[in-house]
Amino acid sequence: MTSQSVSPVATEAALRAKNVSVYYGSALAVRDVNLDIFKHEITAFIGPSGCGKSTLLRCFNRTNDLIPGARVEGKAMFHGTDLYAKDIDPVYVRRRIGMVFQKPNPFTKSIYENIAFAARINGYKGDMDELVENSLRRAALWDEVKDKLRQSGLSLSGGQQQRLCIARTIAIEPEVILMDEPCSALDPISTLQIEELMKELESRYTIVIVTHNMQQASRISDKTAFFNAEATESGNKVGYLVEYGDTEQIFNDPREQATQDYVSGRFG
């Protein structure tokens, strides 16, 4: 089983992992990943727990920096620039590569401020009311909250909170949105709403989503990367990329047996 990268020439790679390995302390978490993520596509990372898909995702906006002891080897590149080069400030990286987390994490502020806050700090000079409205509209939340913008973001339901988090992310207009299992804490109806939302956002943003839900990956993504994990002698699990390609190919005609087993529900 080798990790391999498929690079169709049709579109430009927004993100590229070149021999990326991530360590937590001395433990290797993901080893030697090579893949390209293309502009204005939805790329899904699937695989069993502990296979390093979230870890890899967090490399792309340097969120791993926030975990003490985390270390990245190899190159994670954004439009050809090494994100881990010495002169790169992680704050600017995150400014352009946004992230939506597993559990909705709205700020303890009003719905309006949840969106306006980061935009203001990032120096947005336009009409704030308009930005808030547009962001909420694009996140398909406007109609539900337009009469209670002054209420706390925490007063919303889980699905609404997650859409609020997406709204605040798109308000600052990043190029890439990383989503770390954004629907795992949500009910099926909210999940469907978020999926529809992602389809709409695809034309403007590059989206990478980690998901445990294979139906979700096959429904929404253009490309799918399947990760697996193997145990080392010391008992740690090390994740690696098994197969990466068009979603249709991964689900209908996988090259690797492990992928076939996983997508057909035989393990994982």
């Binding site: 946004g98 559990k103 994490n105 700020f107 303890t108």
Partner: protein, 311 residues
């Protein structure tokens, strides 16, 4: 409903003594209730004894005079009891203490929770809390014998007893309270909130001041209000270092007498029980009690209203 109605199983090896269990349980509930009652009854006893003596006091001194007189001269032949005099001193020393303790405590809390390495935090926080365990009489002497002479180098007009050094040292004394409680509140803000802020391209400073502190606001304010109660009720430091001169005004350089210092003076002196001066300490005590009660109610209300409930 009872298990007794079921037919007994002769082979059953399990025969719990439900009857005894029930009696023991009842007894324990009564015992615990009694203990709870003791603390409540004690509080009521204190309030009632304060209340009775205070009522006695106000038979001699009209409440209006107590609230509006501008002199505090309990031992004069024509005594005057203007609580404003003692209140102004308490206000002054507490204000100085807070001006010291709030910035010091809050910045320590932010440092400990957000910047200190886990190892350093593990040592620094208990060390800070030890500061809270120093007996206040030690702080009092520290103010009188060290801080005042030191300040006199820069402020020659400063009296040997003064509100300034008493207030500063009291501020140092209550800093650990603010630092420790605020740190708890800041540390309790979920990491997910910080991650969310970083993911929007905000710096650490912007995250702390824009996201973390607002989320911890109720806990921080509660710690400050608790510190106010401590400052208002603090006795030894002000009794030792601030002086014993009842004086209306907010001049920090001269000796003043706080409410607590007055109670100490009369309690330790040879004021005969039953005299008007003796009764006056209960009226002052009642004022003190009401004041701290109000602060505690405000704190309680504030925490309830503004506490953020994370999932």
């Amino acid at each position: 409903m009872t298990t007794n109605s079921l037919p007994p199983d002769p082979n059953n090896l399990w025969r719990p003594n439900r009857g005894l269990n029930k009696r023991v349980e009842q007894a324990v509930i009564w015992l615990f209730g009694l203990f709870a009652l003791i603390s409540v009854a004690t509080t009521f006893g204190i309030v009632l004894s304060l209340l009775f003596e205070t009522v006695e006091f106000f038979k001699d001194v009209p409440l209006w005079n107590f609230l509006t007189d501008r002199q505090w001269t309990p031992l004069f032949s024509n005594p005057q009891f203007g609580i404003l005099v003692l209140l102004s001193a308490t206000f002054l020393t507490s204000l100085i203490a807070l001006l010291v303790a709030v910035p010091l405590g809050l910045l320590s809390a932010i440092y400990l929770s957000e910047y200190a390495s886990p190892k350093l935090r593990k040592w620094l926080k208990p060390a800070l809390e030890i500061l809270a365990g120093v007996p206040t009489v030690v702080y009092g002497y520290f103010a009188l014998l060290l801080v005042t002479p030191f300040l006199q180098v820069f402020l020659p007009q400063l009296g040997g007893f003064n509100a300034l050094s008493a207030g500063i040292v009291m501020g140092i004394a209550i800093t650990p309270l603010i630092a420790s409680l605020s740190e708890d509140a800041i540390y309790a803000v979920p990491g997910a909130l910080r991650d969310g802020s970083y993911a929007l391209g905000l710096t650490k400073r912007e995250t702390i001041f824009g996201v973390v502190l607002p989320a911890a606001l109720s806990g921080i304010v509660a710690s400050v209000i608790l510190a106010v109660s401590r400052a208002v009720g603090e006795t030894m430091i002000v009794a030792l270092a601030a002086g014993q001169n009842p004086r209306l005004g907010l001049n920090p350089f001269v000796p003043v007498m706080t409410m607590t210092a007055y109670i100490v003076q009369v309690s330790l002196g040879d004021t005969p029980a039953g005299s008007i001066a003796f009764k006056s300490i209960f009226a002052v005590g009642m004022t003190l009690f009401l004041l701290t009660l109000v602060f505690n109610i405000i704190s309680f209300w504030f925490v309830r209203k503004f506490r953020e409930t994370y999932e």
